[in-house]
Amino acid sequence: MKKVLALALVLTLVLSMGLTAVKADEPTKIIWWVYGDAPIDVKLVVDEANKYSAEKIGVIVDLIFKNDEQFATDMSVDTYYDMTFTCDWANSFVDNALDERFYDITDLVKTATPDLYACIDEKYWDVAGSLNGRIYAVPTLKDMASEQFFRFDKDRFEAIGITIPDKMNFADLEPMLEAYKQNYTDPAYPLMMGKNGLTGMTNSAQWIAGSYLCSPYHLAGTERENKIIPFWEDEVLMERYRLLHKWYEMGYINPDAATIDSIGSDIRAAIRSGSAWRGYYSGYSSWAKINVEGSSYSGPFMSTATMRGAMNAINAAASEEQAIACLKYLELLNIDRTFRDILRFGVPGVHFNYVTNDQGIQVAQRTEQGSANWSMDGFVTGSVVNASCSSDSYYDWEEIYKDYENAIVSTLGAFSFNKENVEAECTACSAVMAKYTSEILTGTLDIDEKLPTIQEELKQAGIEAVQQEAQRQLDEYLASQN
């Protein structure tokens, strides 16, 4: 009996050694959480990508799509992942990095993946991926600034003799609204909007807390720069709110704007607003199915908010090997266009084909299966700028990035507000703003009339404490930078 047992033990030992030996050749698998709803062909595309990456770097991926709520719950119960999507607007980078839930990659990214570190501009590492001077995330290269556009129904405006300027002021909209209203009856309101107002309109300021404390970009270079102020001290925003109310009273805005969710593409809106980059109009046109011409009315601005639009961070609980595998994977995505295109457009020949466009540049043309079963925002599976362009919208990213040299850059650097000490006040202030925001953004209420009430309520909720705390943290941050 003992002999049999001994033999069995030896056998197990040999077998397990054999198994680990085999395992050493196997690629490292990383779990990667990305943003959005899973497209139908995930398995197909991931298999193809894994074949490629296993051969190149010995890393394969388990790609898991998550929406906002799934990120919130899964992060808070500490479900294991190796690498996750994080940004300014979902799965908050600042909150997670402050709680040290992300891996500090400051040194690792430079030693393990120098090519990855080199291919992303230093300012993006310093401002977007950093918190308190340590790097916690790898920025995704997409549009890194925010520029606000009005989107005009080009044909209808040209028909009444109005040419759309390349650049304009917010107030310049008024004569155009008037002309449209006089000439067209459907839609009855030229500036139709839902309860969120004109998309991107408030992006002329960097928001520090909710929609009540901000640092307007236009104050950079004045003596009021680096001051965190309540929204009513920002003249640019207040002028827009006043104009909107005026237009609302004049019947240019739909009266139920504050109570409806949004204006869908089925409504031929005369004017919409959007945040994008110069040249993005084809995207607007194909969405609205009419000719859309854009005109920039504000920006481009750059700050943590615009640069943290999409990033990838590594779990603080991951081992160093896993962390290196994640970085290697991101490195390959950033330097190998063939690989990047697989995750961006799918399996070549199945989801897309390479074609040459009018400018003689190789672009990716999606097949029917590609459009239906593997379509998502460009930033989801990696940087946009190093993927091929899609055949229906070509952008010269080098030009766009060169333009960023002229952008208005926030003077706040990588400052991020840690709300921990004033969380009760912040929450109460958010609740106050939630009562008025849609009415303000749609021009439904007269801001001058209502402002004293809002100020009084915010004061009671503790806005002063929040403002002081934010200013104190900012001053500390700025002092540490010098």
């Binding site: 119960v77 500490d78 294991y80 709680d99 109570t259 969380e423 109460a428 939630a434």
Partner: protein, 326 residues
């Protein structure tokens, strides 16, 4: 069912002591109560540990798991998580709305379904009675989201039924979602329309269960319908009315989020008359998923509800010792 099952097994235990044997009857009743007991333990008692969320600043320690993060890593903060609620400039308004609507709902919830249940059981045509019963019961199965679209179809500014009618008769259309005056009445009406069918069926079932011989003897003694109702039906309904009343009082600090948020389309112009505790908490916390704050408010709601429930039970028992819930 659950209540009966539980009390059944209790009786079974008492019997067991005397006979010192576990009979087949006991086994049956125990088995019958089993799913309910499991349900209560799994969904009501086990999650109770979550109460400590209300007194902690929950932080995740990466890689250590949920329980470690909650019990060891997160710091105790005392009553700090309740603070945000009392910073609200609308606190008085929020509590007024929550309590006032619930009191109205409770009053209507007792009188209207009882009256209609009695009236329907008096109907001569069984078919008509069934049809009425089904018609008022149906809205109970609709979700608040669906109801909110029904209401929107009536009250939408541009294409709403009501405004189309108003225009037809040459009147000015009303911006329904921006005019708060009609909403208290509208909300009470919508809530009643949706919920009273359910309680009506409960009362009808009780009425059907009343011994018919009572009515027969009353008829022989020459009692009118009204006298029968007053003398037989209502007294027989009293225990169930008390129970429904006490249970509703237990929820007096909670409101239906669907009714006050979805049906009103989260319209800020209406907020003075629609902001209840649940709506406020949602609006305050939708930007940051703060589980501590939401647990704190839930605890407050349940705690106050529990106090009111015990008080209501006490009062009901003083009036009628046999009608209490416990």
């Amino acid at each position: 069912m659950g209540r009966q099952g539980n009390s059944g097994s209790k009786n079974g235990l008492a019997v067991k002591k005397k006979r010192r044997r576990f009979t087949l009857d006991d086994l049956e009743l125990t088995l019958l109560s089993f799913p309910t007991v499991v349900w209560f333990i799994a969904f009501c008692y086990v999650p109770l540990f979550g109460i400590i969320f209300a007194f902690k600043n929950y932080k995740v320690k990466a890689g250590k798991g949920f329980l470690y993060s909650l019990f060891v890593h997160s710091k105790w903060v005392g009553f700090k998580n309740f603070e945000f609620l009392f910073r609200s400039p609308d606190l008085a308004n929020i509590f007024r709305n929550t309590l006032a609507y619930n009191i109205v709902f409770i009053c209507i919830g007792i009188t209207l379904p009882v009256a209609l249940a009695i009236m329907i059981t008096q109907l001569h045509s069984r078919k008509l009675a069934k049809a009425c019963q089904t018609a008022v019961f149906l809205p109970h199965f609709l979700s608040w989201i669906v109801v909110s679209y029904f209401v929107f179809a009536f009250l939408s500014t541009d294409k709403g039924l009501v405004n189309s009618l108003l225009r037809r008769f040459g009147m000015e259309p009303v911006l329904w979602y921006q005019d708060k005056r009609p909403w208290p009445a509208l909300l009470v009406f919508i809530n009643t329309w949706k919920t009273f069918g359910y309680s009506m069926v409960v009362y009808m079932a009780t009425i059907t269960g009343i011994d018919q011989s009572l009515y027969e003897s009353a008829v022989i003694d020459g009692a009118t319908k009204w006298q029968q109702t007053k003398g037989i039906t209502l007294p027989m309904l009293r225990p169930i009315i008390s129970i429904m009343f006490i249970m509703n009082v237990g929820h007096i600090f909670s409101t239906d989020f669907g009714l006050f948020f979805q049906v009103t389309r989260d319209s800020n112009s209406l907020i003075d008359v629609t902001q209840t505790l649940d709506v406020y908490v949602y609006k305050a916390l939708m930007q940051n998923n703060n589980y501590n704050y939401s647990s704190a408010v839930s605890l407050l709601q349940s705690g106050l509800g529990c106090i009111f429930l015990i008080a209501a039970n006490f009062i009901v028992k003083r009036i009628d010792p046999e009608s209490g819930l416990f």
